[in-house]
């Protein structure tokens, strides 16, 4: 199994605020990895750092940031852009605003082809049509000249996906690709992504809030909290025996697990922001298993077999 992505001790700093703090992440070729966590936990920023898309004034620091054997930290911008959009591409949460309103569908998809693969105009057009039909757009020839505002949200996301897979990337990052879409479309888009992932044998990083999606589609799960990875585990183990109290609380808040309850349990408190980052374990103010040491020392991210957890007292076979 080759390591496609290898991130070690990645931090992203926005004006002194650590949006991503000491994150480790590995993705093997052809695998599906899910990332979950509350809003603001640094899921997007981690992936943007991998893509080289951190906006001003963000500062990236890492011990290791490797993609497919290439050291992204040492790579020159120009060389890096040859990878971005070709070998690794990304789709975003808001399909409607992620497409440029001034350009046609064909232009936006074939631009990626033109930059990375060249070819004649006709070759590119044929490929665009092929891609559009791959992502399930009916009568793709008629859609070439469409502008984004003429398409529905689901269609826009399909176009985004077509654009992302245009150069057959070995990794696709999907950042909450279905959050902005309605439920029936959500399922279709996810199915499409998983389908393409299998067909093209590409790795997929799927960021989502939806635990059901994780259970269905993902092999490994990474749980993030306040910019840190708190747990990494196989999808199976996460649901049966979560190790981190945060994962445990997250699962307990699922509606599926509270069919009889009149009110859903919630995790008290909020994710710490810029000004209220606690000392010690970042989760300790909200943790129901908190001890003295949790308030003082930051727990290390420790690996055990195929899982890893950042907790002083990981749960063992705790009934969830």
């Amino acid at each position: 199994m080759t390591k496609l992505v290898e991130i070690k001790k990645l931090s992203v700093d926005f004006d002194g605020f650590k949006a991503v703090d000491d994150v480790d992440l590995t993705v093997d070729a052809g695998k599906v990895v899910g990332i979950v966590g509350e809003s603001g936990s640094g899921k997007s920023v981690t992936q943007l750092a991998l893509m080289g898309l951190i906006p001003y004034p963000g500062i990236i620091e890492a011990e290791r940031l490797m993609f497919n054997g290439n050291d992204l930290l040492k790579m020159q911008d120009k060389r890096r852009r040859q990878i971005t959009g070709k070998d690794v591409s990304m789709i975003f949460q808001e399909p409607m605003t992620s497409l440029n309103p001034c350009f046609t569908v064909e232009y936006q998809i074939s631009e990626a082809l033109k930059i990375h693969e060249g070819g004649t105009r006709q070759q590119r057009r044929d490929r665009v049509i092929e891609l559009l039909s791959q992502v399930g757009i009916p009568v793709p020839e008629d859609r070439l000249k469409s502008f984004p505002h003429q398409l529905s949200g689901g269609m826009c996301q399909r176009v985004m996906i077509a654009m992302a897979i245009a150069c057959n990337p070995s990794l696709l990052v999907a950042d909450e690709p279905t959050t902005a879409l309605d439920v029936t479309i959500q399922a279709q888009i996810l199915e499409l992504l998983v389908d393409l992932q299998k067909k093209n044998n590409m790795a997929l990083i799927l960021i989502t809030h939806d635990m059901a999606v994780i259970a269905e589609t993902v092999e490994d799960v990474v749980v993030m909290y306040a910019g840190q990875v708190v747990e990494k585990n196989s999808a199976q183990n996460i649901f049966t025996s979560p190790s981190h109290p945060y994962t445990h609380a997250l699962l307990n808040a699922l509606p599926e697990r509270n069919v009889q309850a009149r009110r859903l349990p919630t995790i008290p408190g909020i994710v710490p922001g810029k000004y209220n980052r606690p000392k010690g374990c970042l989760f300790h103010p909200r943790c129901s298993f908190v001890q003295e040491i949790c308030k003082k020392e930051i727990p290390a991210y420790t690996r055990k077999d195929k899982m890893a957890v950042r907790c002083h007292f990981p749960l063992v076979n705790y009934p969830s």
């Binding site: 898309l53 906006p55 959009g85 591409s89 975003f92 440029n100 309103p101 350009f103 505002h149 654009m163």
Partner: protein, 335 residues
């Protein structure tokens, strides 16, 4: 699109009537009697005074005068100058190319410098370049045209002697006014050096007239650029692996230009208004100077007619801008 155009055309009429009403009343509000001004220092005997007033149609009540005027306007007759007795429209047409040439060059100057300055300031926000552009453009915007013009004349024409002080062409040359555009006429004539002379006469007035539009365009482009640069689709463009230049010049600029085009269109009004002052400073023989002189002479038909034509032009340009806006912004034209 057709519906949109029809609607825009219908909106023109009320604006047009409003302008005639406004210029008519303003002109007649200016104290002073055209007949006395025509007569000059020696004065005029009362009977002759009445007679001339009648001939000019100034004896009737204002409302009647206005109705008379507006009917003539719709017939295409803007009246005759009290002073030269020539039709206003004809005089306007001979003078207008000079104003157009000046405004055009001023606009080119403004866009040529304002647009890139705005784009770079937006992209390099917070840098020294950005701050300089903003400071300079604010200064330019607040600079009174009169003072700015005199300052430039003093420095470049008087002290350095680089450019001529006034007029459109050196008195050494005699050029036939075929098109009325001095640059073109001089270029086509066989007079050696005439083109260079015409060009050097244009530089300072164009800078003076173009300064305010330049400032407005630079600031608008910058803020539009800043807004567009943080749009999701710019991130998408970067995620495709496009070079920063391509992301900015194609994906961001195309969108950022949409509001800038509107602003450029609106500057045409500013230009024509500014032309009045600029032409006066540089003794530029255009419609601006003509209107100012006519105000002093209380030449009512010229003032009314001149302002009416200029305002109509501005309305027309605004219409053009709306159409252009529809073309660059696919969300409007195809809606």
């Amino acid at each position: 699109m057709i519906q949109f155009l029809a609607k825009r055309f219908l909106q023109i009429f009320p604006a047009f009537i409003g302008i005639t009403l406004l210029t008519f009343s303003l002109v007649h509000l200016i104290p002073g009697d055209p007949v006395e001004l025509l007569a000059g220092e020696r004065g005029i005997d009362p009977a002759r005074h009445e007679q001339m007033k009648k001939a000019m149609g100034l004896d009737k009540p204002l409302a009647v005068q206005y109705l008379q005027y507006i009917t003539n306007v719709f017939k295409g007759d803007l009246g005759k100058s009290f002073v030269t007795k020539k039709p206003v429209l004809k005089e306007f047409m001979t003078l207008f190319p000079a104003t157009l040439e000046l405004s055009f060059c001023a606009m080119i100057f403004a866009v040529l410098f304002g647009l890139p300055a705005g784009v770079i300031a937006g992209v390099k926000r917070g840098t020294v370049f950005d701050h300089s552009v903003m400071t300079v453009s604010l200064t330019g915007y607040s600079m009174p045209i009169f003072w700015w013009g005199l300052l430039l004349i003093l420095f470049f024409s008087v002290n350095l002697g680089w450019t001529p002080v006034s007029g459109r062409l050196s008195a050494l040359y005699w050029i036939d006014a075929d098109t009325g555009f001095m640059l073109i006429d001089a270029f086509r004539s066989d007079e050696q050096g005439a083109f260079k002379s015409a060009l050097s006469h244009l530089i300072l007035p164009s800078i003076v007239l173009g300064t305010i539009p330049l400032a407005v365009i630079a600031r608008m482009t910058r803020s539009s650029m800043l807004e567009v640069l943080q749009e999701d689709y710019v991130r998408t463009a970067r995620a495709k692996g496009l070079s920063p230049a391509r992301v900015i010049m194609i994906h961001a600029l195309r969108n950022a230009l949409i509001p800038v085009i509107t602003v450029i269109g609106l500057q045409v009004g500013v230009l024509l208004a500014g032309a009045i002052l600029t032409e006066t400073i540089f003794a530029w023989p255009g419609v601006g100077k003509w209107i100012v002189e006519s105000i002093n002479r209380r030449d009512y038909p010229v003032v009314q007619g001149g302002i009416l034509i200029i305002s109509s032009l501005i309305i027309f340009v605004n219409l053009l801008v709306d159409i252009l806006y529809g073309i660059v912004n696919p969300r409007i034209s195809r809606a």
